[in-house]
Point group: C2
Chain length 413, copies 2
C-alpha cells in the first residue's frame, strides 16, 4: 500500500497505544516506511483526537492539533478489545505483524490473553513494545502518571524555574516525546537482533526511564558528590555568560563558555565596557557573576535582538534569539533543515514537524495523512486475509464496536 522504499519498508507495526508517546513512536516508524496500523477504541478512538477540544471550540479540521502532529503515515481500524471477537481480530493481526506497541496499564494485556508470552507463542518473530508509566514492577508500578507527574517525580521540575520562586513545568510534554524515541530505539535494536537470531523479543520504555535519562548527569553528580542542583532561571552553574539577556525588543541567549569566546563576545558587544582584565577568565566571571551579567545586560538592552545575533554570530559566539512558538515555527531554518512535513487533510494543506533525523539513502516521507477513526477497516482486514462474510460476522459480534445503533450491552469480557 505504499511504494516508498524507506528504511522500514515491509515492516508491519500494530499500534494499540493512545495519546502521546506511543503514537509519536509509531509515526516515526511510519515516516521510515513501515506499514503502521493504528488500533483504536470504537467510541472516540485515540483520546488525542479530542485533546484540548471542548464543545464549541472544535477547530475547523475536527481533530486536535496534537493528533495531527503525531498520526500521519498510519491506517486506522477500530477494534473493541473488550469483546472476544475484537481480540480475535487483534490476535490474527499480531500473528502476521513485526511490531506491536501498547501503553495499557500493567496487567491489561495479560487479562486479555494478549501478553508477550501468549503472542510470541503465535508469532516468535514479534517485537512486543510496552510503554509504562513507572515500569512493570516496583512500588509505583500501579500508579497512573503522565508527563507532568514524571517532571515532578524525576526532579526535572526542581531544576526548572527562577531561583527562590516556585518550580515550573517544562512547557511541552518532553518526557513523553523522549520516551517515544526510546521506544523507537529499542524496537529497532530488537529488529536488528532479529536479523541474526530470527527471534523477536519484548521491549519496554517508560516515562520513568525517559525522565531519568533526561536528567542523567544530575543523578550522576548526586550519586558521586552528593550535590543537589536547583533551578537557576535561565543560567546554569557551568559558565558566565550562559543565559538570557534582555534586548531593546525582546531577549537573546548568549553562551561564551571559554575565555577565547568571551574575548570575542566582549569585543563584539562593547569592548570598552566588557573587555576588561577582571572579567578575563571563567573563574573571574563566575566570581563576579552578578556584575558581569549586569554589564552585559546594560549593553544588550540598547540593541535590537537581530543586531546582537548578527554581531555575535559573525565572531562565532553562540547566540540565539528567544523566539515565541510562531516565530520558531515560521523560521526559514526549520524548512531548510528538513523539519517540516506536510499533507492534505480536510481539504487543506497541513504542516507538521518531521521526524527528528534525516536518512539520506532512505529518506522519510509522508505518504498518508492522519486517518479518520476506523477509516481503513476493510482495507486492513483484506490485507490480513479476511473475507467479506467473516468481516460481517465479526461485526455482528461486536469486534468493531456496537454492531447496532441501539447497542449498549456486553462491555466486559
Amino acid at each position: 500500500m505504499n511504494d516508498v522504499v524507506g528504511a522500514l519498508d515491509g515492516i508491519k507495526v500494530l499500534d494499540f497505544s493512545r495519546v502521546f508517546a506511543g503514537p509519536a513512536a509509531a509515526q516515526i516508524f511510519g515516516d521510515l516506511g513501515a506499514d503502521v496500523i493504528k488500533i483504536e477504541a470504537p467510541v472516540g478512538g485515540d483520546e488525542a483526537r479530542h485533546l484540548g477540544l471542548t464543545e464549541g471550540t472544535d477547530p475547523r479540521l475536527g481533530v486536535s492539533a496534537s493528533y495531527l502532529a503525531l498520526n500521519r503515515n498510519k491506517r486506522s481500524i477500530a477494534l473493541d478489545l473488550q469483546t472476544p471477537a475484537g481480540r480475535d481480530v487483534a490476535c490474527r493481526l499480531i500473528e502476521k505483524s513485526d511490531v506491536l506497541l501498547h501503553n495499557f496499564r500493567p496487567g491489561a494485556m495479560t487479562k486479555w490473553r494478549m501478553d508477550y508470552p501468549a503472542m510470541s507463542a503465535r508469532n516468535p518473530r514479534l517485537v512486543y513494545g510496552e510503554f509504562f508509566a513507572y515500569g512493570p514492577s516496583g512500588p509505583l508500578r500501579d500508579f497512573g502518571a503522565n508527563d507532568l507527574a514524571l517532571q515532578a517525580h524525576s526532579g526535572l521540575m526542581s531544576l526548572t524555574g527562577e531561583p527562590d520562586r516556585p518550580p515550573v513545568r517544562v512547557g511541552s510534554a518532553i518526557i513523553d516525546l523522549h520516551g517515544s524515541l526510546a521506544m523507537v530505539s529499542a524496537v529497532l535494536a530488537a529488529l536488528l537482533s532479529r536479523e541474526r537470531t530470527g527471534k523477536g523479543q519484548r521491549v519496554e520504555a517508560s516515562l520513568l526511564l525517559s525522565s531519568a535519562h533526561l536528567v542523567n548527569y544530575f543523578y550522576s553528580e548526586y550519586w558521586i558528590d552528593g550535590v543537589v542542583r536547583k533551578a537557576m532561571g535561565t543560567a546554569n552553574h557551568l559558565s558566565v555568560p550562559n543565559q538570557v539577556f534582555p534586548t531593546a525588543d525582546g531577549n537573546v541567549v548568549i553562551i561564551a563558555p571559554s575565555d577565547a569566546m568571551w574575548d570575542r563576545c566582549a569585543r563584539a558587544l562593547d569592548a570598552e565596557l566588557l573587555d576588561r582584565p577582571e572579567y578575563k577568565t571563567v573563574r573571574d566571571r563566575q566570581t563576579r557573576r552578578a556584575e558581569v551579567i549586569e554589564a552585559i545586560s546594560s549593553v544588550t538592552r540598547r540593541l535590537p535582538s537581530h543586531e546582537i545575533v548578527a554581531r555575535l554570530g559573525a565572531v562565532k559566539v553562540n547566540v540565539a534569539k528567544l523566539n515565541n512558538i510562531g516565530e520558531a515555527a515560521e523560521h526559514e531554518q526549520l524548512q531548510a533543515a528538513g523539519g517540516v512535513a506536510s499533507f492534505e487533510f480536510g481539504g487543506e494543506t497541513v504542516k507538521a514537524v518531521s521526524s527528528p533525523f534525516r536518512l539520506e539513502g532512505t529518506p522519510t516521507q509522508v505518504y498518508r495523512a492522519p486517518p479518520q477513526l476506523d477509516e481503513h477497516r476493510d482495507e486492513v482486514l483484506a490485507d490480513f486475509g479476511y473475507a467479506g462474510d467473516e468481516i460481517a460476522n465479526l461485526a455482528a459480534n461486536g469486534a468493531f464496536g456496537a454492531p447496532a445503533p441501539a447497542r449498549k450491552t456486553g462491555t466486559k469480557a
Copy 2:
C-alpha cells in the same frame, strides 16, 4: 573484547563526537553491545571530561559527573586529526567499522577528506552519522549553538516559566539528550536498511530537529489555528487540576483531566469542599480555574505529600510528589525499573542512569567503565591490524598528539 551478546553485538562504532548528544548516543550503542571506540583530541580529550570542573574543584574521581554519566562501554584512543598521520589512522579505522558519529562543524570533515563521499567510497557499508546545531544548510548553518540556544530558538523557553515573568530554561540539556536518541534511531534504521541493501548511508540529527520534535504539537497548533501558547507556570491549557499544589511539607502534582477522575479526586481529598456541583465538568473547572485551584490548595496545604499521594494513588488519580534530584535518584522505583547502571571507576562503585529502555531478550549491560583518555590505543590499533613498528612510526608523525619524549607509553593491554 566483550562476551556480552547484545542486540548490536559485532557492530563497530567510531565516535568522534564530543560533550553531550554524540557521546550519549554512542553510549546507548555500547549498552546494546556494540564495540564503541571514542576518538578524542590528544590534549584534554572530550571537553566533557572537565565540564564544570575548574582548578581546585576537581572531584576526587578526576573527571566530571557528566563524563561518567555518558561514557561507559567505550574504549578511547587519542588521534590528532590535524595531522595527516592522525587522519590516516582514522580512515583505516573507518574502513573497517559499521558506524561513524561526529559533531564537527559543517565543512570540517570535508576539509579533512573524511566526509561521507570519501569514506563511503572506502567503506560502502558505513553508516555515517552527523550531528549539527541547525543542520548542514540554511541561513543558520554556520551558527554555533548549544542546548540553551535551541531552547531559546525553538520556542520551548517561551512555553516555560511563570505567567507574566521572565522565561526560564529547562534545567537539563534535554535537547542534546533527545537529539542523542534521534541519532540512535536514525543509525539503527540505517543498519536495518543495510541488512537488505548491503549499503550504508549518511544520516543526520541536529539540535534544531530535536528541539522542533520536542514542541511539535505547539507548532502544529500554530500552523493550523495561529495559536501562540505561552508559559503557564506548572499549569496548562488542557484541564484543571493539572499542576503543582503546595502541601504541608513540599509539593505534589495532581492531574485529573476527566470528570470521573475529578470526582474520585474531590472525594478522596475533601468531599465537602471539593465534590460540588459547580465543579463537576471540565468546562466548569476551566471557567472557575482560580477558584478550583484555591479550593484544592486549601486542602493540600494541610496534608503531608505522602498522605496526598497515598490517598489519590489509591483511587487511581494521577499524582506525584515533587522530588529534588537526590530524592529522585534515590527512589527505589528507579532501581526496580532497571534505571540504574553501575561500574567500578577510580576504586569506587559509580552509579549512572541506564539507557532509557529495556530489551528482555538482549538486555543492555555494563561491561566497561568510562575510559581514561587514550587508554586503549594499543589494544584498538591491534584490533585493526596495526603492527608495533607501524604504531611507533605513526606516533613519530604526531598521529596520537605531539610526539613528546616524555610520553607515558603502553598503559593498557
